[in-house]
């Protein structure tokens, strides 16, 4: 009962181009999912298919354990795709009322959601008079009208100024802390790293990783070191069994362990060799570095 979306072998061809290639993943209630991938990797096409606007070439997906057909299920979903699409000649309140009619939810929440995104004082202004940041915030208000069980966001901060980005991120984080399931597509890695618990990595339409963000980022990490005698440090490290490789970068030695190795243990064994450390830091690869490693492995 906790499965919100189940995708099996979903593919989409545009002519000879395969935009999405046999994707399979499952979205469970309560998690925050990210879809990562460079531009043109099939993120929007994937979302388009599960949102009923792009016809899949093959494969299936089912919402809420397949108990409802897609358009009924979408009434329980909130989604924002790329650019905010509203009727330019209608006011914010009129646009939201139309969404309420489509989703068959009461209109009582319009003001509440407009207040949440800080647009209540502009509710009777026409959509075409809005700035891009305001349009994006209105789209969020619209997606939240039905208190959705899952919120789907496609590049929600695209094209916004830093202030707008901060506002939109703040809103997303607020929603995530309330326990709403979120599916966020983005090519901005730090955005995904900040809010997501799970990640789906796409490249050229292929799924190259699906799982927890922590599983992707926790490898053995690496150490950044410096000592009074940097050459002796490097040769000592190279001689150690638990160290795979070392490199000199930016005045520091970077040491990559091949097993679980604590900073304390490393410091102790180095001291035993007579090395006096002036700097020791244990580091993990960021999602960005992991992502680049993943995509490069695929290309190789």
């Amino acid at each position: 009962m906790n499965t919100i979306l189940n995708v099996t072998d979903l593919s989409k061809n545009f002519g000879r181009l395969t935009a999405v290639d046999t994707l399979s993943f499952r979205i469970e209630k309560g998690n925050v999912y990210g879809i990562l991938g460079p531009n043109g990797s099939g993120k929007s096409t994937t979302l388009g298919m599960i949102l009923n606007v792009v016809n899949p070439t093959s494969g299936t997906f089912s919402w809420f354990d397949g108990t409802e057909n897609t358009h009924q299920a979408l009434k329980r979903v909130g989604a924002i795709i790329e650019r905010p699409n509203f009727y330019p000649y209608m006011t914010a309140a009129q646009n939201l009322r139309l969404v309420c009619r489509i989703k068959e939810v009461p209109q009582a929440k319009i003001d509440e959601k407009l207040a949440l995104v800080d647009l209540l004082d502009r509710k009777n202004d026409k959509f075409k008079t809005y700035s891009l940041g305001m349009k994006q915030r209105l789209a969020i208000a619209s997606a939240l009208l039905n208190d959705p069980e899952i919120l789907i966001l496609d590049e929600p901060t695209n094209g916004l100024d830093p202030q707008g980005i901060a506002q939109v991120r703040g809103i997303i984080q607020k929603i995530a802390t309330q326990g709403t399931t979120i599916l966020l597509a983005s090519h901005l890695l730090d955005e995904v790293e900040k809010v997501c618990s799970h990640v789906l990595v796409l490249q050229k339409g292929k799924q190259i990783y699906f799982g927890k963000v922590t599983a992707l980022t926790t490898d053995h990490g690496y150490f950044e070191l410096n000592a009074t005698d940097i050459e002796a440090l490097q040769s000592t490290l190279n001689a150690m069994q638990s160290i795979e490789t070392t490199e000199l970068r930016g005045g520091y030695i970077l040491a990559y362990p091949n097993t679980e190795l604590s900073a304390a243990a490393l410091s102790k064994s180095l001291a035993a060799e007579g090395i006096v450390l002036t700097h020791l830091a244990q580091k993990h690869k960021s999602l960005e570095e992991q992502f680049l490693t993943l995509t490069q492995n695929q290309q190789a």
Partner: protein, 277 residues
Amino acid sequence: MKRLFLIEFDKLRANRSSRILIGAYFILLTSIALIAAIKFDIGPIKFHLAEQGIFNFPYIWHFNAFIGAWFKIFLAVVIVSMTANEYSNKTLKQNLIDGLSKREFLHSKWVMIFAFAGISTLFIFVVSLILGLMYSNYTEISIILKDFEYLLAYFVKHVVFFAFCLFLGTAIKRSAFALGFLGVWQMFEGFCYGMLKWKSPSWVDAEQVFRLFPLNAMSNLIPEPFTRLSAVRNLASQVEVEVIKNTNVQFWDIVIVLVWTFIFYSLTYRLLKRRDL
């Protein structure tokens, strides 16, 4: 049904140009009444159009249905632009994401088609009834109730025409081009008629084939009413031209346009269903 109507009504009501066009349409429909005011009074020549029998029951149903149908292009522009705008504003995509099915979207447009055709028919009925009661020489109930098939033809003619426009708006996605195409199509039908008359083998009845073309079938629904007018008939008999034209609503013409209505509906749905947004 009510939900679909309210969705479409909200979209229409907020759109200023649609409001203006719809307003202009009904003002023009009412202006048929102004024909009654055509009056010449130059010395010995006294001519009052309203007294020439054009407002007599049951002829008035035919006359007003024929004239009133000319103005439907105003509503056609509204339908085409409201449909094309759903594509250019990408609001069709948003509607689908919000949980409207493609079938429901199409039906919300069809509710508008039926509403336009129905209100227009009701309006022409009321205008004709009032004009008739004012100017007709006969106001017996049995005569008033005659020839109602022209109102039925009027309704069907509007539905099929709007269905054609909805299809063009969906297919072409640009209102100006869709309306332009409507004009081109009209010329194309004329061209086909010419070719049929000129080139078709003797066993093909050009008139009967031409009857199947959509715009021609629509215009056949309500034949021109003028040759029915006694004044015109008198004139014709004086110059010894026999008027044998059939000016009734033909059953087969209704069938032909109903088939077209179904074709336009199905093609529009197919387009909606197949296209990626």
